[in-house]
Symmetry: none
Amino acid sequence: MTKGEKTRENIIDASYALFSMKGFKQVTMKDVCEVTGMSRGGLYSHFSGTDQLFEAVLEKITEKSAADFQKEIEKEIPAAKILESALHLMEEEMKHPKDSLSIALYEFVEMTDSDIMEQLNRNAEEKWKKLIRYGIKRGEFREVNVDEIVNVILYSYQGARMWSRIISMKPKTFRSITDHIRKQLTGGER
Amino acid sequence: MTKGEKTRENIIDASYALFSMKGFKQVTMKDVCEVTGMSRGGLYSHFSGTDQLFEAVLEKITEKSAADFQKEIEKEIPAAKILESALHLMEEEMKHPKDSLSIALYEFVEMTDSDIMEQLNRNAEEKWKKLIRYGIKRGEFREVNVDEIVNVILYSYQGARMWSRIISMKPKTFRSITDHIRKQLTGGER
Amino acid sequence: MTKGEKTRENIIDASYALFSMKGFKQVTMKDVCEVTGMSRGGLYSHFSGTDQLFEAVLEKITEKSAADFQKEIEKEIPAAKILESALHLMEEEMKHPKDSLSIALYEFVEMTDSDIMEQLNRNAEEKWKKLIRYGIKRGEFREVNVDEIVNVILYSYQGARMWSRIISMKPKTFRSITDHIRKQLTGGER
Amino acid sequence: MTKGEKTRENIIDASYALFSMKGFKQVTMKDVCEVTGMSRGGLYSHFSGTDQLFEAVLEKITEKSAADFQKEIEKEIPAAKILESALHLMEEEMKHPKDSLSIALYEFVEMTDSDIMEQLNRNAEEKWKKLIRYGIKRGEFREVNVDEIVNVILYSYQGARMWSRIISMKPKTFRSITDHIRKQLTGGER
DNA sequence: CATGAATGAGAGTTCATTCAT
DNA sequence: GATGAATGAACTCTCATTCAT
């Protein structure tokens, strides 16, 4: 990794923090200068503006988040178990709203007409549908209306995640959402 | 209504449109000048900044939105009927995301630490709890976990509403959310 | 004249001096701020950039420079007399190159693809052709090749004027150019 | 020629093209980097700025352009013939204004107070005077006022050359200038 | 109250220039 | 010598905000 690439990574990491805290529009190149300790010109030689910078951040995180349940399904891990860890992750993410790029993403899409959101949404949809069908096939999940339950999962999660950034929400609230999902799918309590 | 009050109302109405279109942070006093056709100074003699202006907008709409189900309940209108019209309204609102102040509110709260969101959220919660308990008492609704279902209602609605501003969503999607709520409460289809 | 219009005029006058001294590209809005004593924002509320500012300067001076020989011709003033004062003016202008917008014009045209130069050139051409034909008709001027002599007049004047900005030229040199023109037209010395 | 000298030559040639296209002030070291494919630092190790670079370009071309009519005169080639090829060259140069450094030179002199222009001007003056006197002595040219005709030659040529960069001029116009010169000197048509 | 001219702080951006490798 | 990352100064432009009229 050359010196330039290293700097680039540093900038991306530092601005990830900025974007998740402040959203997209509120982050200025000056802010990035400050947190990275770089000069204006140096920064601009890597990224020509916050747009490009945010895209680089997205690229980096979408690589990670590509994780779906495919592997677990192939290993024939019980659907209930996969569900359980997915719900756990959801709860954790709802509890730490400040780490989330969701607002930044939201603003970015509104400003740039990027279709990244559509993609992310479609991915999430597919991933959940796959899991639910797998669970039904194995007889672990009830014969739910897949489309309906996926919508409820995705949007209640997104809604809660977004709102938790601005109102203080109790863990119990997040729990009740994941509980609802679990009950819908398995018919039972955790 | 004096001339001054009229001007004030005009400003509020014009800026409502701006805020719902552009969110809170993106609206500048300059924008407001343009849509109202007023001069900078004139505008400032009514509102000292976008903060105050947005607060005035909020004040005006929260008066309206105070509508809960109290009246209907007092008239002993069947819970299923009240629910039906509430779900219908929800669907309509999800379909017209551009009319919504939700993003503006979101940004406003993040910037100003206002607790208006907490209030709005509590109100919505109370209103739905009241309806659900009323429906259960009348034997129209199933004996659901009230807290849980209210959370699902509120956050899936908010999530869908927000997301529909940035990705194109089919009416079918909104429908599946309201269908889910209906089934949870009444056990049946529409 | 409102206060705003007065300021506008002041800015135009002050920037005329700047443009003639420094050319077009070298004048920044900051320079204009300094010579007018105005703030950045104030300046920008009148002119959105040096382009617009220069256009305003041009507009003002082309109004003045519209002067051709039409009036004198109509008054049947002797062609030799009109010529004499025109040559005198030319000499004066060559002697004071710093007052000339020619370089600024040059740069402006190269940057903006404006066709103002073509117009100015055409005007100058027409004006001289008219005078020469008038002089020939009156028997005062020799039967010269009009196109040829006009080209020599215009370009030797422009060339001398431009060069005199950067090399020190003697009045004698300018004189020899006007002398040449006079001789071509009248066949005689001054 | 060492590798270093070769690089130096490459830089000079590449920047000649830049200067003739864009003038002096508009050429940045960044531009030169791009056309030469060199790095910033590499470039700076040869030339400390555009000033020095332009001086190197000038040095190279003034060597070439030192050509006067001395050789032809010594060979006793007829003055009319020398004149003819000089006028032909002039016409060609007026037709290809983009190849000319004249604007760059102009800007360079204005910025740096170099006296190179004075030298070039004096050279051109001397060269023409020599030719004209030679023609007169041989009885080929008319007994013109040498100073006057040289001024007309030089400045009408410069004026036309400069103007042709920014307004579209017909070959006929250039022709009429050279025709004028020829007629002045030889009294006849080509 | 209303106007709109003016201020000034701050963001975005570009480059000449330096310097460690 | 050559590289290219980094600096910092200068410039363009936008707005929130003030104030004389």
